[in-house]
């Protein structure tokens, strides 16, 4: 005997509403934290404890929310990365050129930062120094902390599979995509 469609839809809607509220509460808590953090000078114990606490909370939430909701196992992912590096010509030449530009840009930024760090002269500021010029102000530090928290939340919660994967798991508790999931359903 089948249940009517509405009896499935109602709990789904309730879950969606609850999720919506939880997301908004998270946004307000994050903004409140960023505002408060703006008043904490970097050498203070409060700044150190609060930043470490934020890191622990985000990582704990990533593990909690992401349990069994990862589209690839770490082994499959490593295999895919290795295959891509071994056979780069499988991609189009334009895609390959674009990838090389990304690598060059990242190396240029890291290289210039490292060069400035080694020289240690005022005319060659490091990226940290430039960001420090902003974070020394309350508003600047608050905005940077808010942006940093948003990035952490993006890394922790985005691109999760729906959790209906069928089989297989790696040592981190994730599951390989099964035929039901299609391996690409993202929340």
């Amino acid at each position: 005997m089948q249940r009517p469609k509405d009896s499935f839809a109602a709990p789904r809607e309730r879950r969606a509403t609850l999720r919506h509220w939880v997301e908004w509460v998270g946004v307000f808590v994050g903004l409140g934290f960023a505002w408060w953090e703006g008043y904490q000078p970097w050498p203070s114990l409060a700044a150190h404890i609060s930043i470490v606490s934020a890191i622990i909370v985000v990582i704990a939430l990533a593990v909690l929310v992401g349990r069994r909701r990862q589209s690839l196992s770490s082994r499959s992912w490593l295999h895919r990365v290795g295959a891509g590096l071994r056979n780069p010509t499988k991609r189009s030449p334009l895609f390959l050129a674009g990838s090389i530009v990304w690598v060059v840009l990242v190396l240029a930024i890291a290289g210039w930062d490292f060069h400035s760090f080694l020289r240690e002269v005022p005319s060659l500021p490091t990226l940290s120094y430039l960001i420090g010029r902003v974070s020394r102000f309350v508003v600047g530090r608050s905005i940077l902390v808010a942006a940093w928290l948003a990035l952490g939340a993006f890394f922790a919660f985005s691109y999760r599979s729906k959790g209906d994967v069928a089989s297989g798991s790696d040592d981190c508790g994730s599951r390989r995509p099964g035929p039901a999931s299609g391996g690409s359903k993202l929340s």
């Binding site: 953090e37 970097w42 050498p43 700044a47 150190h48 930043i51 470490v52 934020a54 890191i55 985000v58 990582i59 990533a62 992401g66 990862q70 589209s71 690839l72 196992s73 770490s74 499959s76 992912w77 490593l78 189009s92 334009l94 895609f95 674009g98 990838s99 530009v101 990304w102 840009l105 240029a108 930024i109 210039w112 400035s116 005022p122 005319s123 060659l124 500021p125 990226l127 940290s128 120094y129 430039l130 960001i131 420090g132 010029r133 974070s135 020394r136 530090r141 940077l144 902390v145 940093w148 990035l151 952490g152 890394f155 922790a156 985005s158 691109y159 790696d170 981190c172 508790g173 994730s174």
Partner: protein
């Protein structure tokens, strides 16, 4: 503006232009979001990004700027 700041401005401009170009031709070029998404596909990639994020946070907000 000194040499160091000028180089940073040029690098930032190049990065922004490249992000816009890749986004405009996202069907043929790798975008920033597609690269990040590639990492987020697995726990290992996600752990790498989260470790970098944690290190950046500690460095920017708890060490001498």
């Amino acid at each position: 503006m000194n040499l160091g700041q000028l180089v940073w401005v040029v690098l930032a401009a190049m990065l922004v232009v490249w992000i816009i170009v890749t986004q405009r031709f996202s069907d043929r070029l790798p975008t920033l979001i597609s690269i990040v998404r590639g990492f987020l596909d697995s726990w290992l990639g996600r752990c790498i990004l989260l470790a970098g994020w944690a290190e950046v946070g500690w460095h920017l907000f708890c060490q001498h700027p």
